[in-house]
Symmetry: C2
Subunit: 132 residues, 2 copies
């Protein structure tokens, strides 16, 4: 059950990035929850509410200079009908840390929050840290 | 009830920043949940697990060059025994967008995730956007 839930959350996370990859605004709108949504794009202040969040994606997906965004290194944390996916986005040669929150609705897991920010610090094994 | 819950979440959010302000590692450790915790400090990759997250705070709070961190413009989004606070942190003259996640445990609301990133983009009324 937990494994199936984790697979379903990962599938929803992939759907988010697939919508990005395809510049598919309708698919992006469908993967976001109906309410209680918020978003922090890299370098942006927080956007609150479905209307403002989707308008930001409309602009981003329509931008011809937008670099492709891919995602790997997913970690899923599940509980209470909500899920958190931490992953690393690759955008134009840069790495970003992303927090994606999902809620389980009648038609599956949908995004309620996205927060992405550039990674400037490398964390080495053993606790050593240095700037890239 | 909802108002009381929101007040309780905001109090937990303030407790997080008060621990930061006082450099109080014990208070910071107490405000974090026992498990399923994760954290993205500004410019950092995601840290997963209470041990790694608290070790990062131990280093940050012990750093004599750490600028004070304050928080305002809180927005609370509540549901399913979890809560999300979006707020603006002020650190050394810079503004950061923060996502703070809380879970309701036996002894109140505790932090399960923190993600903060510098704000480089100003969003004007009417949808006009420009870089600071």
């Amino acid at each position: 059950m937990a494994i199936n839930e984790e697979s379903a959350v990962l599938a929803a996370n992939r759907a988010y990035y697939r919508a990005f990859e395809r510049g598919d605004f309708d698919a992006m709108a469908a993967i976001w929850a109906d309410d209680e949504v918020s978003c922090v794009h890299p370098g942006w202040p927080a956007l609150v509410g479905r209307r403002d969040v989707l308008e930001s994606y409309r602009l981003i997906l329509a931008n011809p200079d937008q670099e492709p965004v891919t995602c790997d290194q997913e970690t899923v944390i599940l509980g209470n009908g909500v899920a958190r996916v931490l992953c690393v986005e690759s955008v134009g040669g840069a790495s970003l840390a992303a927090t994606n929150l999902f809620v389980l609705s009648g038609d599956g897991w949908r995004v309620t929050h996205h927060h992405a920010s550039p990674i400037a610090l490398r964390v080495e094994r053993g606790g050593e840290r240095r700037l890239n």
